[in-house]
Amino acid sequence: MSLLTIKDLVKSYPRPGRGARLSGRAPGEPASNAASEHRVVDIAEFSLAAAEQLALRGESGSGKTTFLNLVAGILAPDRGSIVLDGREVTALGEAGRDRLRAETIGYIFQTFNLLQGHTALENVELGMAFGRGVDRAHAVELLRRVGLGDKHGHFPRQLSTGQQQRVAVARALSNRPQLVLADEPTGNLDRRNAREALYLIREVCREEGAALLLVSHDERVLAQFEQMRDFAFLNRALGTATP
């Protein structure tokens, strides 16, 4: 059964010099004409099954992050449909999308995005704080599983980059998500740490039964996945999509 189904998803940004705004059109704001807009994402169809692990290959600037942000509900599309776990994301208001993200999605960023004023444990707890609530025992268990059982009280600055990414992985899984989005999760890691982090992400997602949608331009990362799609062929906005 499909966990995520996307149809006719379009997202554009105003062209630079015309009041460009990366966050795009605000809800309710009328669409401007095509000449003043730069289409970033235009996807006819896409789906991901529950617990499936899929890698999307894409170069920098190809709209991968925008795509993930649309799926996460951080951005609102100009048009199209995103159905996640049976819920139409585009029909939700901002607060509804926030709740969906807090309860259903885990997000792993290239730059980890840990809060520097929070300890490792507190960062992991943040991942569940805005959804069903903090479960400290689960946070502790996740840190143990990513090999940081003895680093609960460490602040990000006291951890290596590899360890920071492992905290980010634990945080992304802390709300028991059905879908984990990973945006170049190994981009800031050396080869050994990248391999370990990737293994960890896939392994923990598998154990937790979460689907994984990972975007990367790194062939070594992409080669680890049984299923891989080229974002250039998926995104019609790039002009290279297959019909």
């Binding site: 705004r21 990366l22 966050s23 970033v40 894409g58 920098s60 600037g61 190809s62 709209g63 991968k64 992050t65 925008t66 942000n69 996460a72 951080i74 951005l75 901002e94 607060a95 926030d98 709740r99 993200r101 807090a102 309860e103 997000y107 960023f109 290239q110 730059t111 995005n113 840990l114 809060l115 520097q116 004023g117 929070h118 507190e122 943040l126 991942g127 704080a129 805005f130 959804g131 903090v134 945080r171 709300n175 945006d183 170049e184 975007v215």
Partner: protein, 404 residues
């Protein structure tokens, strides 16, 4: 959750939190001190009359007369002859209205502490406050007329380190740098228990001691500086005031004492207003510092806020966290403000007691204890609204990561 966010943010920005809370504390302490001293000193000074209704003295300012004879401040407006007072007392319209009359003579001191001559009756019969009579510390007694004996106010005795049996030569003049020592040697025979009135700051000797002190003008033997008067009825005071003050004679009748003291506060009202204005300005600047402190750190916090939003925090949650942080800084500052007030208010009360003998009670409940901290916290919350709005409007996708 919101409290966790606030706590962790305050912990992360501990130094700026402490500095900002410190400035709020200073403002709060200053405001409390100015307000309490203002309201309490007006009330306490206006109530301080040492048990008397009126003062009779030389022609001049009523305020000066009251300040000199009741508060033992300022210089005396001059002496009156004992005969003039006796003549007044024989006046059937005034004499009958006077219940008790205590003459005093001033002009000498010891190391800045005023030496005042009076009669035994002051300590034997007068109630300095309703139901309260002067009491002497164990072992002491009242001075005797005709003897070189002194009864010393509790505060003066404590500061001078005097005990029963201590001897001293009164000095001419009332300034700290007295002109010369008089020849007479006085002995302390009694130390008064504290009364929280200006009497505590005075060295009391028999009236004729001042009148006949070596070096004084021989004419002073028949003069007194003022007469402290208890009246039989308030209406008698008004009548005496009209008769004496409008007669154009040599005397001034200062009545009622409380109203005359209130005039002093009217005269220095502008100073009071300036102090209050200053305290409010400090409060406004301190509250502004909350705004600036949080606002300035917003660029550094923007990423954190975007991360929280990406993790599912709603706009209203981050808005509440920022406003809550400002409120907590305000509450922390206001609480510390009481510590500042304890030091500042205590110091001011001690200075006022040392200078006037009037005792303020810094911890007696005053409405300012709740409205000043509440107003400061409210101002801090208002200050927090600006950065909170910035957090509310933060574009998450732009802030959190470069778009690929």
């Amino acid at each position: 959750m919101i409290w966790n966010l606030i706590y962790r943010s305050l912990r992360q920005h501990a130094l700026s939190t402490l500095v900002t809370a410190g400035s709020i504390a200073l403002a709060s302490g200053l405001l409390l001190t100015v307000w309490v001293v203002k309201t309490q000193s007006q009330a306490v000074f206006a109530q301080t009359n040492s048990g008397f209704d009126a003062v009779l003295g030389a022609r001049g300012s009523k305020l000066q007369l009251v300040l000199n004879s009741i508060f033992h401040l300022e210089s005396s407006p001059g002496n009156i002859s004992a005969a003039d007072f006796e003549a007044l007392r024989r006046n059937p319209m005034i004499g009958g209205a006077i219940k008790t009359a205590i003459p005093i003579a001033v002009g000498d001191s010891f190391q800045g502490w005023r030496v005042v001559g009076t009669v035994e009756k002051l300590f034997a019969e007068i109630e300095y406050a309703p139901g309260k009579r002067y009491a002497l510390a164990p072992g002491g007694r009242n001075f005797k007329i005709g003897e070189h004996e002194a009864v010393v106010g509790s505060f003066a005795a404590k500061r001078l380190g005097w005990k029963l049996g201590t001897t001293f030569h009164p000095q001419h003049g009332v300034s700290e740098k007295a002109e010369r020592d008089h020849d007479e040697l006085y002995t302390v025979v009694g130390i008064l228990e504290p009364t929280s009135t200006p009497v505590d700051r005075v060295i009391w000797i028999p009236l004729e001691g001042i009148q006949t002190m070596s070096g004084h003008n021989p004419l002073a033997k028949a003069e007194i500086s003022a007469v402290l008067i208890q009246l039989r009825a308030p209406t008698a005071g008004l009548m005496a005031s009209n008769l004496i003050n409008q007669s154009g004679g040599k005397l001034t009748f200062a009545y009622p004492i409380g109203t005359i003291v209130a005039e002093l506060f009217n005269k220095i009202g502008w100073f009071d207003q300036v102090l209050t204005l200053l305290a409010w300005l400090v409060a406004a600047v301190a509250s502004g510092s909350v705004l600036v402190s949080i606002y300035n750190s917003m660029s550094a916090r923007a990423r954190d806020i975007a991360i929280l939003r990406a993790l599912g925090a709603r706009r209203r949650t981050v808005f509440g966290a920022v406003v809550g942080e400002a409120a907590v800084i305000g509450v922390l500052g206001a609480a510390l403000g009481f510590a500042v007030y304890a030091v500042l208010g205590g110091a001011v009360a001690a200075i006022i007691q040392a200078q006037t003998g009037v005792v303020l009670e810094p911890w007696k409940f005053n409405a300012v204890f709740w409205w000043a901290p509440a107003t400061l916290v409210g101002l801090c919350v208002l200050g927090g609204f600006v950065p909170a709005l910035k957090a509310y409007r933060l574009p998450v996708a732009e802030t959190i990561a470069p778009v690929s």
